[in-house]
């Protein structure tokens, strides 16, 4: 601070270091003479204008290359615990074999529930009774969620343990869903939650109430329960109000334990619409799991390259034609491992999909993760998991305020390293900058036309007649935006119609893609819009220039805004929109136009071919309120369509 101030303070004397450098640059760029200064500035502007395309290309390729460098290990930073109050892994745990035994007995009962194929109401009643047996106030909650494909029904069970020595203004949640993310039943996850309820109740050192929730299904049960906890009602779901509530929930752990034993605990963190929990929670859990219960922690269920299946997993990630000697190199292996983690993260976050029931918590500003007991033949079981959960709860109980100190914007590359926002954000923003510069250049081009100056005065000569030796001159022209807006509104209307169709499923999605692709192509090719005459292009800007300007600026804004909200989505948009929108241009030849239109229509509607994916996206939107599918239909499709329209025009 003081060193940077010192040059300015001693202004009369020649400054040192940075100050002198600045002084020299100033002197060369901005000389005292006004005329020279203006000349220099013009020179710079002219230079930039001449190499503008080069600049755009550089930005575009830099952005895309940056994305490829994200898995490089040099970019990663080691994780650390930022919040002082957490004090992870500093307590003795009291979870013992008695409690493991109780969990085993409960597991037998819970397994019976599955074998007798009981309804969700009966199951939830059983869980509530088990909670009540521990002496906890417990209850069930029935919910139904309306979707276009029918109604989702389920029943959750929950219990509240009021911390004996506090006022109960804050709470933390331990939950398990009936369905595991593997598709089977989460029997052991449910059993350990029931056993934990009996165990945790014995202690008075909790500073927050502990809420135990066993939700139905996989994602929707927790979504409905949390919705009822925080809001009175919602449009698309109808959930019974909760009869027992507690304070403000700060943190939550969701347990997913599908196998009979586990070797690692995997952390799933992605929430709905790309939200992430505070990194402190993940780091604390990792510290506790490794130090207190001796269980190594993974990202998702990806084994590290140093462990047995890790190498093979990463090898399958690389294309098979890659020579053996290459992928066996440690750096390549490490790159592959990190790329695998980042891609898994991108796959969840870009689509706004939650990687587990914890995903519904983040929208209520609750930091939550799912602990996934990676199925294996051993060596860990209830004992290790119980200790890890107990110690994590002690750490969460230590909190004095919500988690806020560590990162909310990060990409985990390994369990112990992550990318800071500064090291990944520029990639998408560079692409957005390239688009914005392109858009602005089109806008300037639309406003000005380069004319040959005629001797006969201000008449508008035909370009071909003018001898090339005559002087050139820039003349302003009108930018008529009405046509552009009509075209844009039409393209967005197409997107909206598409969205309604796939939501209501008026047409089978597979069929839809067969219809809409050629139809759109035909419409584009037979477009009624005529290319303007050269006469009018002198006085008013041509449609394609204006459309391209607005289209690119819109895309750029979309990418830069979404890059701070959901980076994976921004990166996806940057990759899919960056080059196609930049290269959209009208052409004279009909076959070229035909090919271009076909490419753009494929890009706009090609995703309809992924039938299951589309259905999942719609389900996410209707049940969990994920914005991805409306965004694709209402923003992405129209933007690409507009690029198609530009290409279908003649210059």
């Amino acid at each position: 601070m003081s060193s940077s101030e010192s040059p300015s303070r001693q202004a009369p004397t020649p400054p040192h270091g940075l100050g002198r450098l600045r002084h020299n640059i100033k002197k060369s760029l901005l000389p005292g003479d006004n005329a020279t200064r203006i000349r220099t500035r013009r020179r710079i502007v002219a230079f930039a204008w001449r190499y503008l395309d080069m600049l755009r290309l550089c930005l575009l390729s830099a952005g895309c290359l940056w994305l490829l460098t994200l898995p490089v290990s040099q970019l990663g930073v080691d994780t650390y615990i930022d919040e002082n109050a957490l004090q992870p892994s500093q307590v003795n745990t009291y979870w013992n074999w008695v409690d493991v035994h109780r969990a085993d007995r409960l597991l037998e009962d819970v397994s019976l529930l599955r074998e007798r194929n009981l309804s969700s109401v009966e199951r939830a009643t059983f869980f509530a009774t088990e909670f009540a047996k521990c002496g906890l106030p417990s209850s069930t909650q029935t919910y139904s969620i309306q979707t276009s494909h029918g109604t989702l029904n389920g029943t959750n069970a929950y219990a509240v343990f009021s911390a004996p020595r506090t006022s109960g203004t804050e709470a933390m949640i331990i939950s398990a869903s009936w369905k595991s993310m593997t598709g089977g039943e989460n029997l052991r996850g449910v059993s350990i939650v029931l056993s934990l309820a009996a165990f945790l109740k014995q202690y008075s050192h909790w500073s927050k109430d502990i809420i135990f929730v066993i939700t139905d299904n996989h994602l929707d049960g927790m979504h409905a329960w949390l919705g009822a906890y925080h809001r009175p009602s919602s449009a698309n779901w109808d959930a019974e109000p909760l009869s027992i509530t507690s304070g403000v929930v700060w943190t939550a752990l969701n347990i997913d334990y599908p196998g009979h034993s586990f070797s690692h605990l995997g952390v799933f963190r992605e929430g709905l619409n790309g939200r992430l929990p505070n990194q402190d929670l993940i780091n604390s859990f990792r510290t506790i799991s490794q130090q207190t219960s001796g269980v190594p922690v993974l990202l998702y269920d990806h084994y590290e390259p140093s462990e047995f299946p890790g190498r093979e997993g990463i090898r399958s990630f690389y294309p098979s034609w890659l020579p053996n000697w290459l992928w066996e190199r440690e750096t390549i292996l490490e790159y592959g491992y990190r790329a695998k983690n980042i891609l898994r993260h991108f796959a969840y976050q870009a689509r706004g999909r939650a990687s587990g029931p914890h995903g519904s918590f983040h929208q209520y500003r609750i930091d939550a993760i799912t602990l996934f007991a990676v199925p294996s033949n051993g060596p860990h079981g209830f004992y290790a998991l119980g200790r890890a959960v107990e110690s994590t709860l002690r750490t969460m109980s230590n909190l004095l305020e919500r988690l806020h100190a560590s990162f909310f914007f990060y990409i985990m590359t390994t369990p112990s390293t992550f990318l800071k926002i500064g090291s990944y954000l520029p990639s998408a923003v560079l692409v957005a900058a390239a688009l914005m510069i392109g858009g602005l250049r089109e806008w300037v081009k639309a406003g000005w036309v380069e004319l040959e100056e005629c001797q006969s005065g201000p008449g508008k000569g035909d370009a071909a007649d003018i001898p090339s030796s005559s002087k050139k001159k820039w003349a302003p022209r009108r930018r008529d935006l009405l046509d552009v807006f009509v075209v844009m509104a039409a393209s967005h209307l197409v997107g909206l119609t598409l969205f309604v169709i796939i939501c209501r499923e008026w047409l089978d999605i597979g069929l839809l893609s067969f219809i809409i692709l050629p139809a759109c192509w035909v419409v584009l090719m037979l477009a009624p819009w005529k290319s303007p005459s050269l006469d009018s292009s002198v006085s008013t800007a041509p449609l394609h220039t204006l459309l391209k300007a607005i289209n690119m600026c819109l895309a750029s804004t979309l990418i830069s805004v979404s890059s701070v909200l959901n980076f994976s989505l921004a990166a996806l948009l940057a990759v899919t929109l960056g080059v196609p929108l930049s290269s959209a241009s009208p052409s004279d030849s009909l076959p070229e136009r035909g090919i271009k239109c076909a490419l753009y229509t494929t890009l706009a509607f090609g995703w309809l071919a992924f039938h299951g994916e589309v259905k999942q996206g719609i389900w996410d939107w209707e049940v969990l309120g994920v914005w991805f599918s409306p965004l694709v239909c209402l923003v992405y499709v129209p933007l690409v369509l507009q690029a198609g329209i530009i290409s279908s025009l003649s210059p």
Partner: protein, 386 residues
Amino acid sequence: MRLATAFIVFVLPFFLVVEALDAETVEEFAVRDLFNRNVNAESSHTNNWAVLVCASRYWFNYRHMANALGMYRTVKRLGIPDSNIVLMLADDAACNSRNHFPGCVFANRGHALDLYGENIEVDYRGYEVTVENFLRLLTGRVEPSVPRSKRLLTDDRSNIFVYMTGHGGDEFLKFQDSEEISAFDIADAFEQMWQKKRYNEIFFMIDTCQANTMYSKFYSPNILATGSSRIRENSYSYENDDDVGVSVIDSYTHFVLEYLEGVNKTSTTSMKDLFDKYDPEIIRSHPGVRSDLFHRPLERTLITDFFGGVAHAEVMHTGPPHLPSSTLVPPLAQVDSITEDEHMQVEVLHNPMDGTGDHWVGLYRAWGAVGIMGLLVAWATLNTKW
């Protein structure tokens, strides 16, 4: 018969005189001996005070509260009464809901000693621990309504022990995450105290990161200061208790408290002994000592001059002078003056009738005996027919 008379007349008075003189010397020596045991101390204070400040709050700062409570226990053990201890403590550890041992604060792994146990008197509690309250306490600028337990009722014969702990940095100490006190603030407060004759000597001890910077700005006389770590150096906690779940005490304070455990009320251990024991290896930081403002040699400055409570008192000369009583046992009130011969003489000159009765009784008795002997000699001479 004559011989017997002569014996009585000449020899007995002599014995009487010797007896009287002898009795006086023995008593005095005994008393001198008792109270001159600490003759090296050269301390001229008459009362001891302790100001113990824990500037942190919250559960994870448990160790700072344990630091302050450890000091509190020690000064109390060495004789400073609760009325002379001002304890500033956030006090949210013992009854914190996160505490596995409700109502207890331990400073050691294994829960051997409950510092919060029996008799804790926290004078400034919770949000009362502020920079303003601390400075008002030191300088005595308090509202009339402030109770005596929250005041530092010191005078120019008071030795004050000021202990601070918390989270600090270069020339500042944080108070409860909301404000800081700077080294200049404390230095100025001490100067005000000096000008207002609120202390005789101050012993300032601080345990925080970069603690030694906190006493670097002092400029008032008679201040001895020590801190836990140098500039740009952290102070570390000593150990963690796995049932409590947090660190229970800081390394430097733990070291000092361990040392003080070997000191009792009559100990002649000096400050130099303590400072010489400082070991950066054990403490894990470099403790500092500042003694340039302190005018006594450290090897003659007793630890109990600050940590102990002196029983010495000084008699004020406001009451009517009283004549010496017949008893030979000197009143306790005078003991203090005996420890300093010069002081006694000054007092004698100012008010020869006051106080030093044992001496005068001895003299009266000696001269009385001589007078009686003279009278007897005269009587014997007059009555004797040679």
